[in-house]
C-alpha cells in the first residue's frame, strides 16, 4: 500500500490517533461507551429499534432467496439418476441438505415477521423467475434434465456455480442497501450463505477443472 494511503488507513483504524474529516466532531480520545441509564432497558430498546428498522430489503432478500434455493434443490434432485460420479453426488447431497435447512430458516423468519413465504416457489424454481441472479431458464433446466453421465456432470457444475454466484451477488446487493441486514439474524444468515456458497463454488470449480482432463 502506498505510504499516504497507508497513513490514511491507519488514521481510520485508530480513531484517537488523528484528526477527522471536516464537518465532524473532533475525535479526541476514543469515545466513552454510551451507558444507558437503565441497562435493563437496552434489550427491549434494541428489540424496538429492530422492529422500527425492519427493512423491506431484508424481506425481499428472504423471499427471493427462498425461490433461489428451491431451484438449487430441483437441480440437486436430478443428480442421483443422472450420474454415478461420487464427487458430484456428494456435492449435490450437501447442497440439498444445506439449502433445505436454510429454506426452513427463511420460512421461519418470514413467518415471525408476518410475511407470506412466496407462494410461487414451484413456479420460480422452474424458471418462471429468471430475474434473479444465476437462476436457470426453463430451457437450461430442460437441457440439464436431458443430460447424462459426463455431460451432466459438466453442465451441473457449470450451472450450479453460476447459481451460487447469483446467491453471492444477492448478498452483496443486500449489504449495498441502506438499512438492510441490521439485525443479528439477518446479518448472520446472509454472511453464512455468502461464506458457504463461496466455499462450494471453489470446490465445484476445482472439480470442474479435473473433469476437463481426459481420463486415462
Amino acid at each position: 500500500m502506498k505510504r499516504s494511503a497507508r497513513r490514511a488507513a491507519v488514521c481510520m483504524l485508530a480513531l484517537a490517533a488523528c484528526g477527522t474529516p471536516a464537518g465532524e466532531a473532533p475525535a479526541g480520545p476514543a469515545p466513552a461507551v454510551q451507558q444507558p441509564a437503565a441497562p435493563a432497558d437496552t434489550a427491549r430498546r434494541a428489540a424496538a429499534d429492530t422492529a422500527r428498522r425492519r427493512s423491506e430489503a431484508d424481506v425481499r432478500f428472504m423471499q427471493h432467496m427462498m425461490a433461489h434455493h428451491q431451484q438449487a434443490r430441483v437441480m440437486s434432485a436430478m443428480v442421483p439418476e443422472r450420474t454415478t460420479r461420487p464427487e458430484i453426488r456428494l456435492i449435490a447431497e450437501r447442497i440439498d441438505v444445506s439449502q433445505e435447512d436454510e429454506m426452513r430458516q427463511m420460512r421461519g423468519w418470514l413467518r415471525r415477521h408476518g410475511v407470506e413465504a412466496p407462494a410461487s416457489d414451484a413456479h420460480a424454481a422452474h424458471g418462471g423467475h429468471a430475474a434473479m441472479p444465476g437462476m436457470l431458464t426453463q430451457a437450461e433446466l430442460a437441457r440439464l434434465a436431458a443430460a447424462r453421465g459426463a455431460e451432466f456432470d459438466r453442465l451441473f457444475l457449470e450451472y450450479m456455480i453460476r447459481h451460487h454466484e447469483g446467491a453471492v451477488t444477492m448478498v452483496a446487493e443486500l449489504f449495498a442497501t441502506p438499512g438492510a441486514a441490521q439485525t443479528s439474524e439477518m446479518y448472520g444468515f446472509a454472511t453464512d450463505v455468502n461464506a458457504d456458497q463461496r466455499a462450494e463454488i471453489a470446490r465445484m470449480r476445482a472439480l470442474l477443472a479435473t473433469l476437463a482432463v481426459p481420463r486415462g
Binding site: 443479528s184 461464506a195 477443472a209
Partner: protein, 578 residues
C-alpha cells in the same frame, strides 16, 4: 438411515442414551448428564434477555474468557462480567452494553478485547444500528476496554478493520512483554473503501491489495492501548510463487485433495506461542502457521478434507503433535446431528502433525448420539482438560450439549462424559445450546446461547478416576483465553503420580501385584517426611524404571517414575513430558 448413527456402541452398553427424548423448554428443559454434574446455572441478566422472544438473536451469548476469579461472557449485545469466587454462586459484577456481534472476547491483565463484525455495530455502542452503507458511525473491528476498574470498564480504542472481526486471537510476544498482538479473523463481506480507506473486496487478479486472502495483525502497546493499530496484514494463503490466492488452485497435494476450496479468510486461529505454532481453521483449509515472529505469521502446512464444509476452529494437543479441527457445517444454526446426517460432516477431524510439519488425518469425532431436527447442533468451541498423560477435550455442540472425549489414541476417540438439555422448541429450530465449553481452573464452563452460564465438575467413572480429575484440578492458570494455548505442566505431586498409576491399571501397564505394591509404596512414602520420604521415593522410582523395560505401556511407567523422582527432589513441577 439408522446405520449412520454415530460411534460404535459396545455390546455391553445397549441402554438408550439418556440424551434421547429430553423434555423441551427454554428455561425448564429436561437434562441428562453422565460423568459430569451441573454445579451452577446463571440465566442471562436483565438487559441481555428478552423474555418475550426466545428467538432474539441479537442478545445471544457467545464466547468466554477468564482472568482470576472473573469470567467474561461475550455476546451479541455486549459483555457480562461474572465474579466466580464461588462457582456455585456466580455473581454478576457488571455488564458492558455494546451491540454488534459476535462479541468474541479476550483478556490480558487490565485490557479486555471484543470482536465486532455486524453492520449494526456503532463506534458509540448505541442500539440504533447504522442505516447508511457508508458511515463514520459504524464500527467493525476490535474494541479495547480498560478494565483496571472492573466496575467501570472504559473503551479506550476502536480498531476498525475491512471485514470486521468475526473472532480474534490474543498473541503475546515472547520476546517483549510491553505489547501484545491480536490476530483478526474477518469472514464477513468487505466494507466499501469509502467507509474505510484501503478496503477492497475485489479478487486478487483485479486488485493485488484486496482485503481478501489475509488476516490483520494488531499491535497493542500495553502502556498506551489507545495507540493500538494494524501493523501487518499477512497473506497467509499465498503459495511459493507469490499468488495470494495460493490455496485455491488445488491439485498440489495429489489424489483426493482436488477439492481445495476457496480459502480467502480464517474463521478462527488458535496460537500456541511456546511451540511457535498456530493452527488456523480457514474456510476451505486447515492450516498451520509458524508464529515465532508473531507480527509476521507464515504458513507451513495445510490440509484439505472433502468432508469439511467449513473449517471453523482448531485445538492442539498439549505436546503439539495432534491438531483437532472442527467443521461448522450449517453455521451453527442448523440441526446437523440428526440420525440422517453423515458422521463425518459437521464433526471434528483429528490430525497428527508430524515432525516434518505435515497434517495427517487420523479420524473423525462427532457427538455420538443423534439430536432432534429442531436442535441446532454441530462441532463448536472447546479446550483441553488437563489430565496428565492423556489428551482429553471438552467441547460445545450447541443444542447437542457438551461432550468430553479422549483422543489420546487419535485414531480412536472415545466419549467419556456429557451433559445435554432438551430442545428449546419442538416445533422450530430456536438457536440455542452451548457456544463454548472450556475447562478453567478445575471446572467446566459452558456459555449457553439462550439459557446462560453453566458451570460443571467432572465425576469419576471407568473412563476417568478421581485421581485423574484431581490431577487436572491441580492445574491453575491466572488467565485463560481459549484460542491461546499454553503448555500445561503439572506439579510434582502424589496426586499426579496416582493418576499415572490409575492409567497403568487401565492399560495393564503393570502386573496387578506390582500395581498394588506401587500404590502401597506411594501411600507409605507420603506418610514419611524429609530424608526418609526422599529415600523411599527414589527407591520406588528406580524400581519403576526397571518395570518400564517389560511394560506394554513403558512410556507411562517412565512418566510415573519421573514424577516420583521429582516429588523426591522437591521440584515444584513434574518434568515428565506427556
Amino acid at each position: 438411515m439408522a446405520a449412520l448413527l454415530l460411534g460404535a456402541v459396545p455390546a455391553a452398553a445397549q441402554a438408550p442414551d439418556p440424551r434421547i427424548g429430553l423434555r423441551a423448554g427454554w428455561m425448564d428443559a429436561g437434562e441428562a448428564a453422565r460423568n459430569m454434574a451441573l454445579v451452577s446455572h446463571t440465566p442471562r441478566p436483565a438487559g441481555f434477555i428478552d423474555p418475550q422472544d426466545m428467538n432474539n438473536f441479537g442478545l445471544i451469548n457467545a464466547d468466554l474468557a477468564f482472568h482470576g476469579n472473573t469470567t467474561f461472557m461475550g455476546g451479541f449485545h455486549g459483555i457480562q462480567i461474572y465474579d466466580m469466587t464461588d462457582v456455585r454462586r456466580p455473581r454478576l459484577r457488571g455488564t458492558i452494553v455494546c451491540p454488534g456481534g459476535q462479541g468474541d472476547v479476550s483478556v490480558h491483565r487490565n485490557l479486555l478485547f471484543m470482536s465486532v463484525e455486524e453492520t449494526r455495530g456503532r463506534v458509540d455502542c448505541g442500539t440504533a444500528g447504522v442505516r447508511d452503507t457508508v458511515s463514520a458511525e459504524r464500527f467493525r473491528g476490535v474494541r479495547i476496554y480498560d478494565i483496571s476498574n472492573l466496575d467501570s470498564p472504559r473503551q479506550v480504542a476502536t480498531v476498525q478493520t475491512c471485514r470486521g472481526s468475526h473472532t480474534h486471537t490474543l498473541v503475546p510476544d515472547p520476546r517483549d512483554s510491553s505489547h501484545v498482538y491480536i490476530y483478526v479473523s474477518g469472514t464477513a463481506p468487505v466494507r466499501p473503501g469509502a467507509e474505510l480507506a484501503g478496503c477492497s473486496g475485489a479478487r486478487p487478479e483485479q486488485d493485488p491489495n484486496t482485503s481478501l486472502f489475509r488476516i490483520e495483525v494488531i499491535r497493542v502497546p500495553l502502556a498506551n492501548p489507545q495507540q493500538a493499530r494494524i501493523v501487518s496484514m499477512p497473506r497467509i494463503f499465498a503459495d511459493a510463487a507469490g499468488n495470494i490466492a495460493g490455496l485455491w488452485r488445488g491439485g498440489r497435494h495429489g489424489e483426493g485433495t482436488q477439492e481445495t476450496a476457496e480459502t480467502d479468510m480464517c474463521h478462527d486461529i488458535t496460537v500456541y506461542p511456546e511451540m511457535g505454532l498456530a493452527a488456523g481453521a480457514c474456510s476451505g483449509n486447515g492450516i498451520v502457521l509458524d508464529i515465532r515472529d508473531p507480527a509476521n505469521p507464515r504458513r507451513i502446512a495445510e490440509a484439505t478434507d472433502p468432508n469439511f464444509a467449513y473449517w471453523h476452529s482448531a485445538n492442539f494437543s498439549n505436546d503439539g503433535r495432534k491438531v483437532i479441527f472442527t467443521d461448522e457445517w450449517g453455521g451453527g444454526v442448523a440441526p446437523r446431528c440428526r440420525a440422517s446426517d453423515r458422521p463425518q460432516w459437521g464433526a471434528n477431524a483429528i490430525f497428527n502433525l508430524t515432525a516434518q510439519r505435515r497434517l495427517q488425518l487420523a479420524s473423525y469425532y462427532k457427538l455420538p448420539v443423534a439430536q432432534t431436527d429442531t436442535e441446532n447442533c454441530v462441532a463448536h468451541n472447546g479446550s483441553l482438560v488437563p489430565v496428565p498423560g492423556r489428551d482429553i477435550m471438552v467441547q460445545a455442540w450447541y443444542q447437542g450439549g457438551i461432550s468430553v472425549f479422549d483422543f489420546t489414541n487419535p485414531a480412536k476417540p472415545v466419549e467419556i462424559a456429557f451433559f445435554d438439555r432438551g430442545p428449546m422448541s419442538t416445533t422450530e429450530v430456536v438457536v440455542g445450546g452451548y457456544w463454548s465449553a472450556y475447562w478453567y481452573n478445575g471446572h467446566i464452563y459452558g456459555s449457553e446461547i439462550g439459557r446462560g452460564l453453566d458451570v460443571f465438575e467432572l465425576r469419576p467413572s471407568e473412563h476417568l478416576t478421581q485421581n485423574e480429575i484431581d490431577a487436572a484440578r491441580l492445574v491453575r492458570e491466572e488467565t485463560f483465553n481459549p484460542q491461546l494455548q499454553t503448555r500445561i505442566v503439572w506439579p510434582a505431586s502424589f496426586v499426579v503420580a496416582r493418576a499415572y498409576l490409575d492409567q497403568l491399571k487401565r492399560s495393564d501397564g503393570l502386573p496387578r501385584a506390582r500395581s498394588t505394591a506401587v500404590t502401597s509404596a506411594l501411600d507409605r512414602a507420603e506418610r514419611l517426611s524429609g530424608a526418609a520420604r526422599r529415600t523411599a521415593l527414589n527407591t520406588l522410582a528406580a524400581q519403576l524404571t526397571r518395570d518400564a523395560a517389560g511394560s506394554r505401556d513403558a512410556a507411562r511407567v517412565r512418566m510415573l517414575a519421573s514424577t516420583v523422582r521429582d516429588i523426591a527432589a522437591g521440584r515444584r513441577q513434574a518434568s515428565a513430558a506427556d
